[in-house]
Symmetry: D2
Subunit: 291 residues, 4 copies
Amino acid sequence: MTLDQLNRASPEAFVAAIGEAFERAPWVAQAAARKRPFRTVADLHDAMMQAVRQAPPARRLAFIAGHPELGSRVRRADLTGHSQHEQGSLGLDRLSAEEFERFARLNAAYRDKFGFPFIICVRRHTRDSILRQFERRLGNDAESERARALDEIAWITRLRIANLVEGPGKPSTSGRLTSHVLDLVAGGPAQGVHLSLYEIGTSARGLLCEAVTDAAGRTDPPLIAEAPLRIGTYELAFRVGAYFAHRQPPAATATGFLDVVPVRFSIAEPEAHYHVPLLVTPWSYTTYRGS
Amino acid sequence: MTLDQLNRASPEAFVAAIGEAFERAPWVAQAAARKRPFRTVADLHDAMMQAVRQAPPARRLAFIAGHPELGSRVRRADLTGHSQHEQGSLGLDRLSAEEFERFARLNAAYRDKFGFPFIICVRRHTRDSILRQFERRLGNDAESERARALDEIAWITRLRIANLVEGPGKPSTSGRLTSHVLDLVAGGPAQGVHLSLYEIGTSARGLLCEAVTDAAGRTDPPLIAEAPLRIGTYELAFRVGAYFAHRQPPAATATGFLDVVPVRFSIAEPEAHYHVPLLVTPWSYTTYRGS
Amino acid sequence: MTLDQLNRASPEAFVAAIGEAFERAPWVAQAAARKRPFRTVADLHDAMMQAVRQAPPARRLAFIAGHPELGSRVRRADLTGHSQHEQGSLGLDRLSAEEFERFARLNAAYRDKFGFPFIICVRRHTRDSILRQFERRLGNDAESERARALDEIAWITRLRIANLVEGPGKPSTSGRLTSHVLDLVAGGPAQGVHLSLYEIGTSARGLLCEAVTDAAGRTDPPLIAEAPLRIGTYELAFRVGAYFAHRQPPAATATGFLDVVPVRFSIAEPEAHYHVPLLVTPWSYTTYRGS
Amino acid sequence: MTLDQLNRASPEAFVAAIGEAFERAPWVAQAAARKRPFRTVADLHDAMMQAVRQAPPARRLAFIAGHPELGSRVRRADLTGHSQHEQGSLGLDRLSAEEFERFARLNAAYRDKFGFPFIICVRRHTRDSILRQFERRLGNDAESERARALDEIAWITRLRIANLVEGPGKPSTSGRLTSHVLDLVAGGPAQGVHLSLYEIGTSARGLLCEAVTDAAGRTDPPLIAEAPLRIGTYELAFRVGAYFAHRQPPAATATGFLDVVPVRFSIAEPEAHYHVPLLVTPWSYTTYRGS
């Protein structure tokens, strides 16, 4: 549905179209309907969040408490370690026994302390960063956590509204991870370098994607795009040994030094652009957060 | 015993002192005793190897065949994968079931084809490079392998003679692995960086040692020294996130990018000096084979 | 005039419009007119050059000989060294006495040897590279120089045709020089770095332009664009000391190490993109030919 | 003379041996003679400076005022710019007319304001840094300048005592400037790279020395050693184009990018070790303050 259509829809149609973006709380959309028309999709979302923030405390708290427990998406992995490696992102559906128990403990402790479930915008996090957030936030006081729950709801609903509504001024909900390999022996882009992207969890590593650099030394499409990056730790593995061995003449010798070059880094800003280039020879490399 | 003492010893004492460096072949030392005096320990070893190379073919072949099978030092690991990680070098005493079988197959095939056991200077190799050599050398013809067996015996006995005899001109049997961390934010050596050295095998990784950089940004003693480096693949993990977080003022921010920096490289020359420095900021690093 | 208009023009109008791109040789355009229509501007230029290359040898030689002597654009500089520095490119209109004499000698020697003037596409060269070409080409034999003169005429007329004719498939006649400064202490683009671009000649240096990096760490517009780069040697001077001193908190200390960072490089391909980035801290930098 | 001899000498012999290290002030040595014996040469110098600092104010001021004017070593250069380039360090004996006048003005203004001459340890400074110090210190108040004059006298006399007296614990009066070139294409030290070291003054540049890297990629001896480094700006020019062109096979191509690589840096600590390495390919380099 377009923003323009929403601006001109009946209040009932408006609520029907986007009301469910806010869990079990059609009153949020009803309040926003009265603020129409909206110039941008971001304005629409802001108005809905404002309705939440300005609701009477009891209603706001009931709204927060009405969110499903994170646990509903969590289950203990019966997958072997090996198949995990094949299946990419280390999601909440593939917890080890130890993590599963840790999770259940945290869920119970959080609800005990605050009286509402732990809310977090899962799509902006890896499993490890969710667990880290969980433990950190358990130490907060009630007021901070009520505020924090609303902030997370804002992230969650921003993604939902951006999915539901077409129109100008959509809020940016996507980050981007790109790389670029320069061959400093040849003095230009390194074409044909295989690279693998892994998520690095405390208990496992998951292969997210594989790619080969093009004539510009880049991957097309980007390694991650059109979605929030997940806060967490990653590793890019560049197969530079194979690349240099296949050059004519080969740039690597019998006494090869570099083969697979791992570059490990953390992502902290899901909506940002992370550019991680590699300037490489058979004997050296430089990497950095580029722009 | 000193070279000087050996030069002046009776032939019997000479053979008793160093004869066993060549397995079950006292005639090697007997021949060398007649070439005395030697100016350097290297000359002594050269004379012994010359005695082997100039021996009648049948005696030389019997000498080669008299070497113990590599298998005698091999056994299947009953260790869990986890405890392997704790125990350093991935030696031949800790083969996985799969590797153990591969090894047994190779041993049998080699003896079948050449009539003598596979000889390799184990102390210059990791488990992976031994297996790789094994498979590569199985493809050779008999003449090449007889020559290659002598070359390996030369490496083995060079180490033994260097251990047994003190004196001038000892052959160089040691390599050296060193590192150096420079903090490019502060413009000087990075003191207090924890680093871990791993051997990277096909089936496992083994922690070889841990160290902390000193005021010169180096590790003292070197990461490896006073022994041949083992041909294989290694990873140095530098904990740069912790280093920058503890600086006053902290150089890393809430949005940390680098935490543990892994640098993976191969060693091909056991007697060489490998210097693997890291020039680092919280957002970038350069590494290379230094000198 | 557009390619479309040229395709439909009378032969006379066609020749009137673009004939003078080839010096005193309307017969070139007349021949090309008969090959119409052209799909691209590059095809048009190719057809004109083909007319030259297929002309009878005497006519082709007369055409070459009809070009003006390079000397007509050369004069001895009466400018002081200082004002040269202010005035950018070290053009042929600002030769030192020594260079002026060298030039006159070369012109005479060339005409003596080959019977036609030295032809070079001046807009693709610096003064130094013209002199170097002059000396090198004087050593050629006559046949090579006749071929080389035609190649240079192709470069010259390509630029003229690209200026005269609008339409699809214009040949690429422009190179591009860009830079990019990354602050590896802050982990992002360095905004506000002053940089100066110099042409480095044997006898002098000329300031070509100055710029300040924008929020992306780049210069907008590029340092050079929309014209061929001139073959020669250049220096980019980045004022990184001032940049770091003005950061909050200042990243450079009383014991500053880097102030102005000069990066000197040569350009050999006038139609290429040269990207010369700087990855910099107060104590280090990396530069390379990027892409 | 050795420290041991000084410790046992008569007071008269002691003063005769080292008294003149402090200009026209034998009382300094007389006071120090009474503090004997000294364990280290540094202790001896400390005792002499303490005698100065504890002298009655009038005597201390007379001592300061008794120093010769810097101007006595200054004269206007009649050398052409060209010959300056040939003659190394841009000393005070080769001032341009403009600098000479600036100097005379500063000398007069300083004496007018403070009543004693401007004192600076010339051997720790370049011409430019002396002029910069001169102007900065003219803005100080009298008390600061009296203190500063003593600090400079301490540097001056430290050098003199270190020259006059042999023995343990000599104060460190020498800095060191070294370089190291690594060829990242070959993966080892770059042997045979020509490099030139220049002092970069505001009005001129002076060639200090030339060197060629040895098999370790270093210069032996260091570029500067066994003397204080002079505070100022320097440029190291590495001829990497020639180096790569002479490799077999040549690593640089017809479209060379780097030829002479200039690295410009400032020295602020005369007694420190400045290590300025170059990690280089035909298309890139990294430089930094090493250690």
